[in-house]
């Protein structure tokens, strides 16, 4: 089979606004039937790129070809036949009916001296059927709800009968039900009608879940362009958006899933002001009890390590996602002598040891022994006593006894994770 036709090609695109470079040397091409998402923070040039491709903005350097033709040689009507834009919102100055609004999408096909023909009415009703707005064809646009209005604008774009749909955050201020409904519509247009879809999406996950390729824009440059699997990771998101995220997988679709790392310390101003970046903190792991503490301290800027944890423990996932060094033990095995020693090394090289509300059994009892050693050698220990030790002790009282000794020896006891930062 021959290679797919290129419907859009952008070469060395530069655009400046008031002497500020908005787009810097953008080059990419899009094959027919692709579904591409453009992601990037506000001001990264996403909307500008859409406006340049649809020839709403002019005065760029470089070359933009739509359907193999340079858009500089095409008039606005020709472009509107090939590229339809769905904007964030539209606010008409007058209260047109829904049918009148959709008919405006046929403008590229109607000559100045002509009238709407049969094919125009057919295209309008066909588009309205696809978006299920036929029942309110005669209602006033201004009287519709936000989601309905956006459906009408979507239909207006469909009436243009273009091969490319450019979406400029079409669902960013709609409720989740509309976001899903629109995404399903985009997907079906993409699959059934082979429409090329290039979209700016407000919601990163919406984009990753559904598009074949993703373009990351940062400060007017293409940071990366490829499949989500290849280019979406903690580092790329951090570097493009400047935010810390976890990358997981959607358990159903197995696609990548980005979720933000929230920092409970932030609202108290502790992390940004008081955090001592050089303070090394070692956290005793196990059963996921260490995860929230790791997240909190890591995002607050401390140098964090963790141990000893079993390889199947959720604490391992957290440590891996956050890039925290840890001591691991094979699954379902008691902590070995080697692991324990490694853990003690970590403890010795750190300034504070934190003991979260871990469940203790014979397998991880040695973790408690290591903490006891730490406090005996004068190291600072914080115990998070969120849950009564008696309920967490599965060693027949051995762990409880040692735990109480640690507290007696001068460990700082806090009742919840939120109090930890104050004790550091």
């Amino acid at each position: 089979m021959s290679r797919k036709r290129k419907v859009l090609s952008v070469k060395n695109l530069d655009f400046s606004y008031n002497q500020n470079k908005v787009l810097d040397n953008i080059s990419f091409s899009v094959e027919e039937g692709s579904f591409i998402s453009i992601l990037g923070p506000n001001g990264s040039g996403k909307s500008t790129l859409v406006n340049l491709i649809s020839k709403v903005l002019r005065g760029y350097e470089g070359k933009i070809e739509v359907g193999g033709r340079d858009i500089k040689e095409l008039n606005p009507k020709d472009i509107a036949k090939m590229v339809a834009v769905v904007p964030q919102y539209t606010n008409p100055g007058f209260s047109f009916t829904v049918a009148e609004m959709v008919m405006m999408g046929r403008h590229p096909y109607i000559s100045r001296f002509g009238m709407e023909g049969k094919e125009d009415f057919d295209a309008v009703s066909g588009a309205m059927e696809k978006t299920k707005i036929l029942p309110f064809a005669n209602r006033k646009f201004t009287e519709l709800s936000g989601g309905e209005k956006q459906r009408v604008i979507m239909t207006q774009a469909l009436a243009q009968d273009s091969s490319i749909l450019l979406l400029d955050e079409p669902t960013s201020h709609l409720d989740i039900n509309f976001q899903i409904e629109f995404m399903n519509l985009f997907l079906s247009l993409n699959k059934k009608e082979n429409k090329t879809i290039i979209g700016i999406f407000h919601d990163v996950n919406l984009a990753i879940q559904n598009s074949k390729k993703i373009m990351l824009l940062k400060e007017g440059r293409i940071f990366n362009f490829g499949s989500g699997e290849d280019i979406i990771n903690r580092e790329s998101i951090k570097s493009v958006f400047g935010s810390d995220v976890f990358i997981g997988r959607n358990p159903v679709t197995k696609k990548l899933y980005v979720s933000p790392v929230f920092n409970p310390g932030d609202d108290q101003g502790i992390s940004s002001q008081k955090a001592n970046k050089y303070l090394r903190v070692h956290i005793i792991g196990g059963g996921g009890a260490a995860s929230p503490v790791m997240n909190l301290l890591h995002s607050s800027g401390y140098t964090v390590s963790c141990g000893v944890i079993n390889t199947l423990d959720t604490d391992i996932d957290t440590a891996q996602m956050l890039g925290i060094p840890y001591v691991a033990e094979a699954p379902f095995s008691p902590i070995s002598f080697i692991s324990q020693n490694k853990n003690i090394e970590f403890i010795k090289s750190s300034d504070v040891v934190i003991l979260p509300a871990v469940e203790f059994g014979s397998g991880n009892f040695s973790n408690l022994v290591s903490v006891k050693e730490a406090i005996s050698s004068g190291e600072k220990v914080i115990v998070i006593d969120e849950k009564n030790i008696r309920e967490r002790d599965h060693t027949g009282g051995k762990a409880e006894k040692l735990y109480r000794r640690i507290i007696e020896d001068g460990a700082i006891v806090v009742k919840s994770i939120n109090q930890v930062l104050r004790c550091l």
């Binding site: 709403v56 100055g93 009238m115």
Partner: protein, 347 residues
């Protein structure tokens, strides 16, 4: 129902109303002529129909009064009304605002100032039969339109507040300058005042023959841009996405509407609010689609001004009041009503 058929239906209804009004307006005045005679006299001037009409039993004095005094005035007022309402539709569409009209945005004052200069300083020189007053009125209107537009638009968006304020400010300045000229050219005072106060009194077929064709041509040219105007009311960016050459179309329509308004002003002086009220009422009846709104508003504008002018010349018979007074007395409360109502909407 297709747009075309709907347009034709509404326009025909309005034309019938207009014709009826023409007959009524022609029959009333200082000399009373009954409706039947008036109809016969008017019909006797229609080519093709006149063969069937016997004017012998009609009073020749009535024929002269109607054909040489009342009809020129009636038709001139209709065309001024058509011009003002058409310009109003275009301005409202361009500025995406139902409160724009040639008077409110200062185009009328610009035309009046231009006309005053033409009237006072340059006399006798004309171009193709068009008087200097008209030419200067056109220039004054164009300059004012572009000033108001560039002051109130930023990055392709027109701020309504700045639009109204700059219109008011420029109107005030232009009126002051007109007054200034009036003081220094005392001997032209009567001429200027007579003209500014809304003179349809000096109507003649000669005036009509010069103005009417220009108004018709400009209105027809603009008419081909009504689909674009519909889409432009979605905003410049959206219009461009739908294939409208936004900048070009806006400039063309802005120039057309200013010229149309200026022609009206050059005949009759400043007559406010016809261009504001008419499109607004018609929008309630036929909807916002400019393809229908534009032709129907034009005819309705003719009706409104004919009614106002007939009132103006008969209400205090034998004295006449300037028609601008009538339109303002009706128009200003309406404008204020719109202003209060618009506070509830987001522009």
């Amino acid at each position: 129902m297709g747009t075309g058929r709907k347009t034709i239906k509404h326009t025909i209804i309005l034309l019938i109303i207009l014709i009826a009004l023409i007959i009524v307006a022609a029959s009333i005045g200082a000399a009373k002529v009954n409706l039947k005679d008036t109809s016969l006299i008017i019909a006797s001037f229609i080519p093709g129909v006149n063969h069937f009409i016997n004017t012998a039993r009609l009073d020749p004095r009535d024929i002269v009064i109607i054909s040489q005094i009342r009809l020129p005035r009636i038709f001139l007022s209709i065309f001024v009304g058509i011009a003002l309402a058409s310009a109003g539709v275009i301005f409202q569409g361009l500025f995406r605002n139902p409160m724009a009209d040639p008077f409110v945005i200062g185009v009328s004052a610009g035309a009046a100032f231009g006309a005053t200069i033409g009237l006072v300083f340059i006399t006798g020189v004309g171009l193709l039969g068009i008087s200097t007053t008209t030419i200067f009125a056109l220039l004054g209107a164009l300059v004012t339109t572009f000033l108001v537009y560039s002051i109130s638009s930023a990055r392709g968006k027109v701020s309504v507040t700045t639009l109204l304020l700059s219109g008011i400010a420029l109107s005030a300045m232009l009126s002051a300058m007109t007054s200034f000229i009036m003081i220094f050219r005392g001997h032209d005072l009567a001429k200027i005042i007579f003209w500014i106060m809304g003179g349809l009194t000096a109507a003649s077929w000669y005036k009509f023959n010069i103005i009417a064709p220009m108004v018709v041509v400009l209105i027809i040219i603009s008419g081909f841009y009504m689909r674009d105007l519909n889409i432009i009311s979605l905003g410049d960016e959206r219009a461009a996405q739908l294939g409208v050459q936004t900048d070009r179309v806006k400039k063309i329509l802005l120039i057309m509407a200013s010229l149309i308004a200026a022609l009206a002003v050059s005949i009759s002086g400043i007559i406010g609010f016809v261009g504001l009220i008419t499109p607004h009422i018609l929008r309630l009846i036929v909807g916002p689609d400019h393809k229908i709104l534009y032709p129907t508003s034009a005819v309705a504008g003719g009706i409104v001004l004919l009614m106002s002018d007939t009132l103006a010349r008969t209400i205090l018979m034998p004295r006449e009041i300037p028609v601008g007074i009538i339109t303002s007395i009706v128009g200003v409360p309406f404008f204020l009503y719109l202003l209060v109502k618009s506070k509830k909407q987001v522009f």
